[in-house]
């Protein structure tokens, strides 16, 4: 190894001669300081890594997040659920829409703004802050999510009381939306690390929570508005109680989340013994992942699968009524609300059931099911949907179960392709597909239904064109999934770089070496024109 001066506290010190263990070996001397070290790799290659050592003070320090010996991994899913069940409240925003419109004199389009901005911010903050979440650890991320999400609700309370609707938009949509994005990705990579044998099931539980959050919030918020009244005072009180209650509920996640200990990492081999295909031998950084075709193919898969689900979700209740309007068994509007509830149940159940199934049948196969069978079910709705209400309901439920499952399975698919190294950050960047689908799906469905009404269409004809578009999107998604191949080894991270990110120990004696933002700049010096670390 070439002698390389390392910088400690801004001063150039003695030469480091400790080869790959140089960071740990120098800890005693450089405790609490940033150290730039050169990590030696096989075949005379090396990378410069900036590590922070001795950062073990504070509840949020990454090494304080490492599980003590004997920590039960089944404590991690409830930690994740505490966050996802809370931020899933966003899907129950519609409860506040009519009261806000009446009390503040705003339009329907305006009352939808906080939710829409929130979903856009979810995608953006997950994409931008994914690497930071990965570096700081899940406890930090969950606390930031708690602070942002609950502050958003409290700011909204102030906005309603003051009669300033723009404050609600900024509070709930902008500030709260950042909490949604950080919270959504916060437990993902930790769950995958704790459940290397069942990553699909683990992320399925958490992401099922996001669907379940609306189920809790919807009746709860409705009861609260009934109790406090739908005036500005009542709505403000409801936001205030929401903010406080969710802060208490989410704190369980912050307190309970733990990173796997070295003891658990040693046990990982035993877990994977029965599932030889479950292990992933390589890792790809978030920056390199977005340079691979696999990332963008998966982006298309997620975007189109979500769009197809929204195709039904957006117009579920009127769709059921329209389909059977002229039949011998028309469906009443109240019954249609029951249909929407069933779709929510299918959406939630699909997240857990199908994602867990993917651990057995493989990620590529399960997406073949979501996209291929999804397209066929849309065809069934088109051709036979109006002949039988049970057939229509069941087909729509299965499509919605695939919609939810697409979200829940994608972190495990990313882990299969890119490893666990920065899977949370990669997942964050992939969620921009959701933001696009969230705009694209309702646009397509509403525009076509409106145009159909103007043209005088009735019944199933109102939805025929949008169903054909959904089928086409699912077929394109199916082809994209077929094109996904293992990632080229030139994108793989060197083992030494991956190891530099892992907390060194669980105990008081552990001096952690953390991957730092500055590392990216240092490592970039060693990269070739394509941004891949030279081999």
């Amino acid at each position: 190894m070439r002698d390389t001066p390392f910088v400690s506290n801004g001063a150039s010190r003695t030469l480091c001669q400790h080869e790959q263990e140089c960071c740990a070996a120098c800890n005693t001397e450089a405790s609490g300081l940033n150290v730039v070290a050169r990590v030696r790799l096989p075949y005379d290659r090396s990378v410069r890594v900036l590590v922070t050592v001795g950062d073990k003070v504070g509840f949020l320090a990454r090494e304080r997040q490492v599980a003590p010996p004997g920590w039960n991994r089944w404590l991690v899913p409830p930690a994740a659920l505490a966050i996802h069940l809370s931020i899933g409240q966003a899907y129950a925003w519609s409860v506040f829409k009519t009261p806000l419109e009446k009390s503040l004199g705003i339009t329907g389009t305006q009352s939808a703004l906080p939710f829409q901005l929130g979903i856009v911010m979810l995608g953006l903050s997950a994409a931008v802050l994914g690497t930071t979440v990965e570096r700081r650890g899940p406890r930090w991320a969950m606390l930031m999510s708690l602070l942002a999400f609950c502050s958003g609700l409290l700011i909204s309370a102030v906005g309603v009381w003051a009669g300033m609707y723009w404050v609600v938009v900024v509070g709930y949509g902008l500030v709260g939306g950042i909490g949604l994005g950080i919270g959504y990705i916060s437990p993902v990579s930790t769950l995958i690390k704790w459940f290397p044998d069942r990553p699909g099931m683990a992320t399925g539980i958490a992401i099922m929570g996001f669907g379940g959050g609306a189920l809790i919030a919807s009746p709860w918020s409705t009861s609260m508005l009934t109790a406090f009244g739908s005036t500005t005072s009542g709505i403000g009180q409801a936001f205030l109680v929401h903010g406080i209650a969710y802060a208490v509920f989410m704190s369980l996640g912050v307190l309970l989340i733990r990173l796997p200990s070295p003891e658990f990492t040693a046990q990982k081999e035993a877990l994977l013994k029965d599932r030889p295909k479950a292990g992933v031998a390589h890792n790809v950084s978030a920056n390199n992942a977005i340079r691979t075709p696999q990332f963008w193919l998966l982006w298309v898969v997620l975007c189109f699968n979500v769009t197809a689900g929204i195709g039904i979700l957006e117009k579920a209740a009127p769709m059921l009524v329209d389909f059977f309007k002229e039949s011998s068994t028309p469906v009443a509007a109240t019954a249609a609300t029951g249909f929407v509830a069933l779709l929510s149940a299918a959406n939630m159940a699909g997240r857990f059931v199908w994602s867990s199934t993917s651990d057995v049948v493989g990620r590529k196969n399960i997406y073949r099911l979501y996209l291929g069978v999804g397209a066929l079910l849309y065809l069934v709705l088109l051709t036979l949907g109006s002949t039988s209400t049970p057939l229509f309901v069941i087909a729509a439920m299965v499509i919605l179960s695939f919609y939810g499952a697409g979200f829940a399975t994608v972190p495990a698919y990313l882990r299969d392709l890119f490893g666990t190294y920065q899977v949370g950050a990669i997942h964050g960047r992939l969620l921009t597909a959701w933001s696009v689908a969230g705009v694209l799906g309702p646009l397509i469905v509403n525009a076509i239904a409106d145009a159909g009404k103007k043209a005088g269409h009735t019944g199933p004809d109102l939805y025929a064109t949008s169903f054909y578009i959904m089928i086409a999107l699912l077929v394109v998604g199916f082809i994209a999934n077929e094109l996904i191949r293992p990632v080229d080894p030139r994108f793989h991270e060197p083992e030494a770089v991956v190891r530099a990110q892992e907390p060194a120990g669980s105990g008081d004696d552990g001096t952690a070496a953390k991957w730092n933002e500055a590392e990216a700049a240092d490592a970039a010096e060693e990269q070739d024109a394509e941004g891949v670390v030279k081999k």
Binding site: L81, E263, A336
Partner: protein, 41 residues
């Protein structure tokens, strides 16, 4: 996977944590099925 060093307090923590998230979810599911039943009446 739980460790062989697992003790009663950690079991209590496990049960408490799952109840913390499970009870609100059960309430949400109960209300959901009340709504879904409207489709069949």
């Amino acid at each position: 996977m739980s460790s062989s060093r697992e003790n009663p307090s950690s079991t209590l923590l496990l049960v408490g944590a799952w109840l913390w998230v499970g009870l609100p979810l059960a309430y949400g599911l109960y209300r959901l099925f009340l709504n879904a039943a409207k489709l069949f009446v």
